[in-house]
Amino acid sequence: MTSVATAPNLIEVRDLHVHLGESHVLQGVSFDVPEGGVTALLGRNGVGKTTTLRAMLGLVPRRGAVTLAGSETTRLATHEIVRRGIGYVPEDRDVFAGLTVDENLRLAERNGAGRYELVYELFPELRTRGGQRAGTLSGGQQQMVAIARALLNDNTVLLVDEPTKGLAPLLVTEVAAALERAAELATVLLVEQNLAVVERVARQVVVLDAGRVVHAGPASGLLGDRTRIQALLGVSGGGH
Amino acid sequence: MRRAAHLVVPLVLVGVLALVPTLSLDLPFVFGGALDSPGTLGLLALCLVFAGVALTYDLLFGYTGLLSFGHALYFAIGVYVMAISLTKWEFPLWQAFALTAIVGILVPVVLGAISLRVGGIAFAMVTLAFAQAGQVLVQKNPDQLTGGEEGLGLNYEALPDFFVGVLNAKYLYWLALGYAAFVFVVVRLAVASSPGHVLQAIRENERRVEVIGLRPFGFKLMAFVLASFLATVGGVVWLIVLGTGASPQVTTASFTLTLLVMVVIGGAGTRYGALLGGFLYTLLDQRLGALAGSAQVQDLPNVIRTPLSEPLFILGTLFILLVFFVPGGLASLGRRVRLRRRQAGLQGAR
């Protein structure tokens, strides 16, 4: 009996707790990310979506267990976790403004090599703007650099945090296309507020509220249900 | 029960310490002479002065979270203004003190108002800058007032008789004890007061204090001026206790760093930590040097003897070890022991 439902989970998060200052941001977050495709992490502002990604990477102190492809990563340092094959696209892009586009990409290389052909095929502008300082790029261009960085290596997982935030509609479409392409190459855990994008690319959804998981299941199930979306996310379905 | 303890313990401590000059007790190695000998009393007085001054630094650093690299400046104001008033301008004692006190309040108000416009490392650097300016000013010896590099001798005739002379060491001791006790009481009151609670809240999370609607600046300035003024008084006491006059050493950044070391060794932000740290550091600093010259140590092989001859080496190493293994300072050791015992008790109860 081989069905998608029983395919092994690539990532398993169990009982994740994070305290930031005085506040208990994540209060026992548990969810699975099945291998392949895009799993969307949804929720209102401030429920802990970004913190969840950062906790999975070890960028904030956490309690709980995170398992990647069967082995636990909770005890490892961030760079060791990342080297297991994770690409990270942070919420504010975090490209290095003082470095050129080329240097930003080169920094992401592991063991001196990278899939530059793929990256330039997806984002041809990065080749032409190679010598430009990343700080002078537009928001959309910086987003491309951030995504390209994560795709440069043969990662099995991509953690992507609100890639369409603040972008014009045309760029949103481009980013969504890039995400689809990325999902062919790796499993993607996507934090996104733009439901149109989620509708287009996501296979599974996980919804957070007040530091806990309140819903997990196939994307089609949730996204067709307007009242449910309203209740869980506080927005009318359909995207911006 | 704890409230009573907190009142009783300091009183008993002060009482016991006040009796020291009457004790003809010999503690070999720890002191060079009996407890009531002038040499030992002078040493103890110095230790008490620094216990108090360390506590003034702790008010800034341990309680308010303000890291200042220029605290020496205010101590130096106490030392130099008093010395100059007594020796160069020949003021009577109380007038000299009054002048020193006024300067010791005005200067931190002005400099504090400027320095506190920034926080964190920037604040530390600005305070360092002002203290450096003070150091340079003293070195330049304007109008031959400060004595420059050689320091300024003290005109001891300006002091009341009972502060002068070897036989009167016990009065200097009581003066120092009085100062330390005074600082302790003032800091306790300040910390326990409602502005004091605001200060500690500021140390934890300044933004939250702003959200409540309070402006941290005023509170920080109050703490800054109070700590600086108390340090200025300490400078005056130091001048009298030491009797040899003002020295530019007290204007240096190293001096401030020494205060920091004292506070950290004892335990920043704790009830008795700074007092303990200041006392212990001064004691070790003075006594280790004497120990190094003693017969027993002279016989040790060079490799051991040489580092021991410099008290700062031992103190610095002790400091590093404490920072690594006992970050709460010596004062936290008691807490740790109690914690261990409690944990052991819980385990036993299972």
Partner: protein, 289 residues
Amino acid sequence: MLLTITGLGLGAMYFLIASGLSLIYGLMGVLNFAHGAFLTVGAYATWWVSTHVGGGPGTQLLVGALAGIAVGAVLAALVELVLIRPLYRRPIEQVLVTVGLALVLTALVEAIWGFDARPFPVPPWLIDTTTIFGANIPNDRFLEIGVAAAVLVGLTAFLRYTRYGLIIRAGVENRAMVTALGIDVRKAFTLVFALGGMAAALAGILSGVYYGVVEPSRGTSLLIFAFIVVVIGGFGSIGGTAVAAVVVGLIQQYANYYASSGLGDLAVVLLLAIVLLLRPEGLSPKVAH
């Protein structure tokens, strides 16, 4: 002219010390108070080796300098590995440890070699003067400026063209993101400390040439000015540090000469206060700790 060159000479020494401090704070967020001690130890190592080497003062200086630089690098790297790295998530304790280390190292030097100044091997051609535009300038100034310029070029090239240089430049901007790219920044930390130690030792050696002697307090007295330079120039920026070092050196010399001795130091301190009050944000490294 003499003033300018001397000011530049002083600035050269400040730059050497400040460059290490700047990188260390910019990348690691550690305010390294022990940097002055690295300088002193490097200077003394040079002096000590030079007294055991034959030949003229030129050879003695050269051999001693090589030893001194090596000692500076090794000492700094050891310090980072043993004292700083274990305190990784405790920044306040890291700073405190450097304060303690400064005390310990300086005390050790004083204990072994005493408080008095020791004569430094200076070859005669450095003491000689060259006449430029009518001013007699001691040749050692040129050496200082030359060495500092070489280090400036070397450091900039290193940062621009090597992988570790890239990591350091990125790390100064955003350390967390660098680790999120799978890079172990800790190696960069040790490297930066070692580089800083080397530069500090160089500054110590040059100060030995400049003053003709070495003494235990040298490191501490120069460290303060180095801090001022770093703050004015901006943490983590080599170019900014260089400019600030030149400015500070020149102001100090000119004010000391034209106004009165000691006023130059005052002027520099005032400059620091002004810069800080106008631009306090320039102080926090853009590092996400």
